[in-house]
Amino acid sequence: MLIDERRSTDKLVDLERGLLSRRVFTDPDIYKVELERIFAKCWLFLAHDSMIPKAGDFMTTFMGEDHVIVTRGRDGKVHAMLNTCRHRGNRVCLFDSGNAAAFTCTYHGWSYDTAGKLIGVPFLKEAYYDELDKSEWGLVPVPRIESIGGMTFGSWDPSAPSLTEYLGELGWFMERLVLGTWNGGLEFVTGRHVYTARANWKIIAENFAGDHYHTSVTHASAYKLGLAPHPAGYEDVQDPNGPFEVALRPGHGAGGVYTGRPPFERDLAVAERLGPEVVAYAKERYARLTEVMRDAPCVPYRQGHGNMFPNLSWSGQANATGGRSFYLLQPKGPLHTEIWIWFAVERNAPQAVKDLVRGQSGQMGQLPSGFFAQDDAENFERVTESARTTVAKRYPFNISMQLGHEGQWPGQEKWEVAGIPGLVGPRYGEHSQRLFYSFWAKQTGLDTEA
């Protein structure tokens, strides 16, 4: 390359000054590094148990840009493997999901069982003189597969830390709030929705990880219409009971956390509109939650959004009347991301809650028909475009909000946050984003090498 863009000694992620190079969003070479060192190493979401409940059920997905089949094997376990024949590489499964006994390649007919084992080779004797060692030529398995609360994750790195270790401080949140494992876990109630944005995946991920600051502006139209209460001044928005944005080592974030009775009482008001069954459920659920949260006396009740590094985001309420939406941010080059969307509710929730969640999904939320997605996506696209051009690229983004105040936030003495793991910060902050990018820098190794 005739121009060396790394000529400067500037770091891509400068946590001392709170600066973030625009190049991380658009440089094709950096993107290749991400594919190798993030998407081919980190733990990535594969499937929820309820997507492939029966033996032979499968779905296809992407890990980075690699196409992967996820199956429920005859052994009842989840398997995942590259969707590419070991002979000449043809795709062996052509569907989004379904149930199959085997995957047969349409080129020369090699076939693989649902665990990826090569079980059939046409004319093995006549053409291969029985010399092909079938045990060596199965579909390439994802070497590490682990799960939490019904959610299965995979990693291409044989020496990756365990999923639990990788989740780190997020594990606690996952089990208690996101997945509600103590309440029977989740049930996915819709098919997969997908839309595409001309945006880098990270600007989406960091937004879910901890950007509460954008809501009052980006989503102003929804507030204006009275579809949600508009946060006016800071006093209104930073109640001692939340919301809080929590940065979770090593690189995750969970925000919109509300603690104690106030969020429960707001939830109860919704429950009342849904009928006595739901009220009873909400109350009983709260009692059990309080029990579960014995180590967190503040009793976190609601949890609004988050991101598990690198690309599994979610939003929702994690309460009795709300669902969760999960967003898998599938990278398609530095400038494009597919957003894969599923809706889920707690399995134990009354039918009225399930119906409500299903009904809301296309309106306010993150479906391409939803107000919030529309507002967000266009910002993400413009951010990405601006990170691409010659002069603009010289000016880093500012991720300095409250830099140096971490853990010593003004007014934090009033917050009811006892027992919550991670770095608990106020509604408006960039501590979660800084953690996101510092982990990104560590994983890519780019600043270290430079």
Binding site: V189, G191, T218, L225, L367, P368, Q374
Partner: protein
């Protein structure tokens, strides 16, 4: 059981759809809303590629992937949102062009079931490469003020929606 509508109704339905498309493309959205009955449903599904649904030679079905299931109240909110001046995904308004083709009108008792295909082109900021394809099936009722849409069922011919859906179909 439906039967083909006669020449007159077919023509009326064609004109109705074309005038409707003008209202969307010219952003006369309150006039557009007025074309729906008060209890109208505006529904859109997405396609997928599911093996289970596949007898040989059957189509990908639009399973549980519902993008819109609006009553008129929420549809009105969508229009009002665009008027807040804060819905920046439509600032400036996108250019849209609705090409409505293959209109088939059938009688279903007092109602007309009208099927149509569409290609909606959208241009926005620097991008003019956004295209949506699909079909609609409408239940139309004749009122004193003209035809009204009691139910619109859209199937979008995409697995991956090319962009968030800030226009109407």
């Amino acid at each position: 059981m439906t039967e083909p509508a006669g020449a007159e109704v077919q023509r009326e339905v064609e004109r109705f759809f074309h005038e409707e498309a003008v209202l969307i493309d010219e952003r006369k959205l309150h006039l557009w809303l007025a074309l729906f009955t008060d209890d109208a449903v505006y529904r859109m599904e997405l396609r997928s590629k599911i093996l289970q649904a596949l007898l040989p030679n059957t189509l990908p079905t639009a399973g549980t992937q519902v993008l819109f299931e609006d009553d008129k109240r929420f549809l009105t909110l969508r229009v009002r949102r665009l008027e807040t001046g804060m819905a920046h995904a439509e600032k400036p308004p996108s250019i849209t062009r609705h090409l409505v083709t293959n209109i088939i009108a059938d009688l279903d008792g007092p109602a007309v079931i009208a099927r149509s295909n569409f290609h909606v082109y959208q241009a926005r900021l620097e991008a003019d490469d956004m295209h949506f394809f699909g079909k609609r099936e409408d239940r139309l009722l004749r009122t004193d003020a003209g035809w009204r849409i009691a139910r619109r069922s859209i199937v979008l011919d995409h697995i991956v929606v090319p962009r968030t859906l800030t226009t109407f179909f």
